[in-house]
Amino acid sequence: MIAVKKYVWLLLVVALLACNRDAQVREIPVNDFFKTQDRALYRLSPNGKYLSYLTLKDKKQHLVVEDLEKGSITEISKLEERNINFYCWVSNDELIYYKEKEGSRFQTDLYIVNKNGTQERVLSNDGKSKVRLLEDQLIEDKFLLVSSNKRDSTVFDVYKLNVRDGQMIVAAKNPGNFTDWLTDSKGKLRMAISTDGVNESVWYRENEARPFQKIITNNFKTTLWPVAFSENKPNTIYAISNVNRDKNALVEIDCITGKEKNVLFAEDTLNVVEAQYSKRRGKMDFVVYETWKKEKHYLSDDAKKLYQGLEKLIPDAESKIIHQDKNEQHFIVRTFTDRSPGAYYLYNSGSNSLKKLSDINPSIKEDEMCEMKPISYITNDGFKINGYLTLPLGVQPENLPVVVMPHNGPGQRNSWGFNADVQFLANRGYAVLQVNYRGSTGYGKEFYAAGFKQWGQKIQQDVDAGVHWLIKQKIADPQRVAIYGYGFGGLIAINSAVNNNKLYKCAGSSTGILNLFSYLKAIPPFLTSNLQMYYEIVGNPDKDAEYMRQASPVFHADKINIPVFITQNSKDPRINGNDAVQFVKELKKLNLPVTYMEKEDSKSPLNREEARKKSYAALELFLQGNLKKR
């Protein structure tokens, strides 16, 4: 079937090329890039016989259960509100879900319902507390492990929620700073993670009767993510760790001593980002490491057989298991590529067959999207910087107008995959350059730490070096380079306008950070340890005031002499809206061409679409005005 489809596509493409080689690339409407699927939250019943999902009808979300054998569909609920925190199967016949109350962001009521839509009843309607699901698996056939702040609104304790009567029994009390919990394969709560904002500690107990003991403490620069308890070795946990290493590895840790016992996967050049444990097989299935793209390394032959069977059906795409039944026979798989936001599939490992459930965004046609290619270059001070280049369709990769898009931060990176912003710009004829400047995650501890307090300095140079590289490759037209970003990306963009306005023709910032002092101010002053972490990454206003002043564009409006585009949500309580307004005022007083837009948070999706259209249209116009004319 797929082969036939492909053949048809190929024919179509060939026919199109034959007709009109220089076919004008269709200008895709802005909102097409950002459409979201009208189906979400696919789940399988424990026995794998039923599929459930949320679907949108008349702007209302329904919970639907599909009988996979008979193909019959039952609408379980008619929810008035779009947002439900979650639902899940609690047996082969029953589901529970949260209805969100209107007007309050967190308050939720818990319901249980039969899979044919009957016998809906309220389990809990505590209006004050929030409840979050920890594990969507039943323990002793009646308990769900949830966390709730019903004891103290600032602290989440762990409870066993009886899905039969809604009773909640305390499973573990939170001393105040525990943020994450881990159960063993029997559902016993045995591990917890605490943080003081900077340092993360791992706590362990041998059984539920004992108190938690702190076994490891790490600085925020170090990663240690417990993955699962080992089935056959006592007091042993699998974890992704870069303790005493530069890159993440998958290791075994002795829970008594907190020491590393065994290494399952470690490479000096590869950074592990995920690891999958199979409860059924009681083994680690694989690790995922990320270079320019995520790759799997299998740790068991069973898993290799299973997942390679799946991957053969969806070549070239990245895939992720979203949910699976108890026997690990049916899987819900989410796929994507650089040119497609992807789709949901139902995979049957027994018959090795794949069934498409729905597209994430059906408006996106893969052949109209552009390829995202990995690139890399060496900076003057010897750092290797990786990045991605997306070239527009239908033109020679020579002398192109370029938009550089530095990513947000701190502690983020660009990954291979579908990016609506990038595709939008590429569709409008721009080559898009994304670079993982120093301080980006995923390239090791050293690379991450190299970006600390380098905003406006080394980070800026890394981005500039990327542009110089692109010009040297003759891909970029040196006269037509723009820089645009969100958050810290916006900071980099506007700083470029301040520092290096010969390289860039114009600069844009979308809800960007314009003032590092304001950024730090957003952290409440009583979170002293958390503040310390940000002081290390961004800068310490007591000691580094001069550097922070230098790296904050608000102070340097008078140094800008290229057109600037700024959007800001001035009503956002987390920022100091005055910064952007004052900055724009100053630019205007200096008679600089500045485009300023105020974004507004809108509840209605229709208004949101309208606002998005407006802001992207303004961006398009801004870029066109500054880059298209030579």
Binding site: K521, A522, P525, F526, E546, R549, F555, P573, I575
Partner: protein
């Protein structure tokens, strides 16, 4: 006589018209000068009042820049200012804005704990200072810190802090947490504009303000301490640089207290004032100029206008003169044509009356003898020829003048041509002595008829304007540098130097005994037209009572 009087009256009419015109524009000229002067006076006096705002605006610009650009920069630091950064910040301000005399920096905090002697405590809400520093040009290093540990004792007032802190508290207490306050509101609350002083608190985020509000009523368990920076700028209005952009209008501009009003200002001076705004409202800009100084400026303004009016007046006069001159020339032309008509009539009259007499004689004679018949025949024939010649001449001239004829070129044998001309004239006037001389060439191509006319006219003139014993003409033809040069030299009465420029004009005749009748004043004008038509030139040299020489230069075509 009657004719003369008509001419005279026409002449007088024009003259009076022109005199009236000149009189009128002269009145206009004087009137506009007067108006222009009045206008200049009003304008400068008005400027003295209105340009004050301009001077104020220019002079206060650095202050406005300081107020709207530099003050908000304090908020950029979000309370993170410390003494070192503040010192740097203040240094740039002191350097750029000389009217800032001193800056006091209060490193302040908002918290739930009371401040005993260095802050404001209302309920659980406390705003207090940790440290205070003063910066200024003349402040010694050791007295910078005026409050806090290790501070020197100073008399410097710290009350500005309490004032603004109270303002902050009042605002927070009344804060409506459902509505984000506008930037303008916030700016008003967090700044305090006083006499020669501006205090400014950094504006916290709305989220922080909400927490401040909670802190009024209860102690927060997290024991938050929020950093606030307050800067108090002491300003010196006397240091404002006055930008007198009308130095010719305002002799002196000074900053004076608002109450300044000297009694001794005599009537010799013009004064004005305008209040400085904001923290300087107790001061004004005081403008003073001597009356004579303003007068200079009035004249400075008036002179260019007067010059323009004068130029316009001069142009009008020039136009009037040109019109007068043209009228005069036309008048003379009219007179010439009138003369010509008279001459022509006269010219025609003689042959016509001769023909009439001859006709009458033949009619009234009973019989005519053969001698009489021959006589009358000859008379009639001759007079008819005369009339014919006259008419031909007139016709040819009009034709040439209107370029209605074509050149009819032919090869001319010069010697033969001159000899035949001489023969004709000697036959007509046996007492006419004609000689000639041809050198360097024998033939050339030209229109023989036009050339014949030229020769005839010039020979006729030579004969006519010579006394009876000196009727002679010497014709020479030479080839000089591809040009045929013909000279006609007689020994006649000559032409006075004053008339030499007029002889080629139409209908012009020199008044003398030789041309009382039988001349229309067309001959030489006709010659000139002919020569022009043949693409040549004609010129004349003459000595009175000695003779005249005409020189004709024609192109030589082989």
């Amino acid at each position: 006589m009657a004719m003369e009087s008509v001419k005279e009256s026409g002449y007088r009419k024009n003259f009076s018209l022109i005199v009236a015109f000149i009189g009128l524009i002269s009145v206009l000229f004087v009137l506009s000068l007067f108006l222009a002067f009045n206008f200049s006076k009003k304008k400068i006096e008005g400027d003295f009042i209105s340009a004050k705002t301009n001077v104020l605006e220019e002079s206060i610009k650095p202050y406005n820049d300081f107020f709207s650009n530099k003050l908000p920069e304090i908020s950029y630091y979000n309370g993170f200012l410390d003494s070192a950064t503040a010192a740097k910040f203040v240094d740039t301000i002191l350097l750029k804005y000389p009217f800032v005399k001193k800056v006091v920096f209060f490193d302040a905090e908002v918290r739930n704990m009371r401040y005993e002697d260095n802050g404001l405590n209302v309920g659980e809400f406390s705003v207090g200072m940790k440290n205070a520093y003063q910066f200024g040009t003349y402040i010694p290093e050791d007295s910078v810190k005026i409050f806090g540990p290790n501070a020197v004792q100073s008399n410097a007032t710290l009350e500005s802090f309490n004032e603004l802190a109270l303002k902050l508290y009042t605002f927070v207490n009344k804060l409506d947490t459902a509505r984000t306050p506008t930037q303008e509101e916030l700016f008003n609350i967090f700044s305090n504009i006083k006499h020669n002083r501006i205090d400014y608190f950094n504006i916290p985020r709305f989220e922080d303000l909400k927490i401040y509000k909670q802190m009024i009523t209860k102690k927060l368990p997290s024991e938050p301490v929020y950093q606030q920076d307050m800067l108090s700028f002491e300003l010196d209005p006397m240091k404002i640089k006055i930008k007198n952009n009308r130095p010719l209008l305002y002799q002196s501009v000074r900053i004076e207290p608002i109450t300044y009003d000297p009694l001794e200002t005599s009537s010799e001076y013009e004064t004005g004032e305008i209040t400085l705004g904001g923290p300087f409202s107790a001061y004004k800009l005081y403008f003073i100029s001597a009356k004579s100084f303003i007068k200079k400026e009035i004249f400075g303004y008036f002179f260019p206008i007067a010059a323009l009016i004068l130029i316009f007046y001069g142009l009008l006069l020039l136009v009037a003169f040109l019109i007068y001159r043209n009228l005069n020339i036309n008048h003379k032309m009219f007179k010439l044509q009138y003369d010509f008509l008279t001459n022509l009539t006269h010219e025609f009259k003689t042959p016509v009356s001769v023909i009439k007499i001859a006709g009458n004689n033949i009619k009234s004679a009973a019989s005519i003898s053969e001698r009489e018949q021959k006589l009358y025949g000859k008379i009639l024939d001759e007079e008819a020829d005369k009339l014919n010649g006259l008419m031909n001449k007139l016709l040819a001239f009009t034709q040439i003048e209107n370029k209605a004829i074509k050149l009819n070129e032919d090869r001319v044998d010069m010697v033969e041509f001159i000899e035949s001309t001489i023969d004709v004239h000697q036959l007509k006037h046996p007492d006419f002595k004609l000689t000639y001389e041809v050198t360097d060439f024998t033939h050339f191509i030209t229109d023989p008829v036009l050339l014949g006319s030229l020769f005839d006219n010039l020979a006729e003139n030579a004969y006519k304007y010579s006394p009876p014993n000196r009727k002679q003409l010497h014709i020479t033809a030479r080839l000089i540098k591809d040009k045929v040069v013909l000279r006609f030299k007689d020994a006649g009465i000559g032409i006075p130097a004053s008339e030499i420029n007029n002889i080629f004009k139409k209908f012009y005749r020199i008044q003398n005994q030789y041309n009382q009748a039988g001349s229309v004043g067309l001959g030489l004008a006709f010659c000139k037209e002919l020569v022009n038509f043949m693409k040549g030139e004609i010129s004349v040299r003459s000595v009175v009572d000695k003779g005249t020489e005409f020189k004709i230069v024609l192109p030589f075509n082989q």
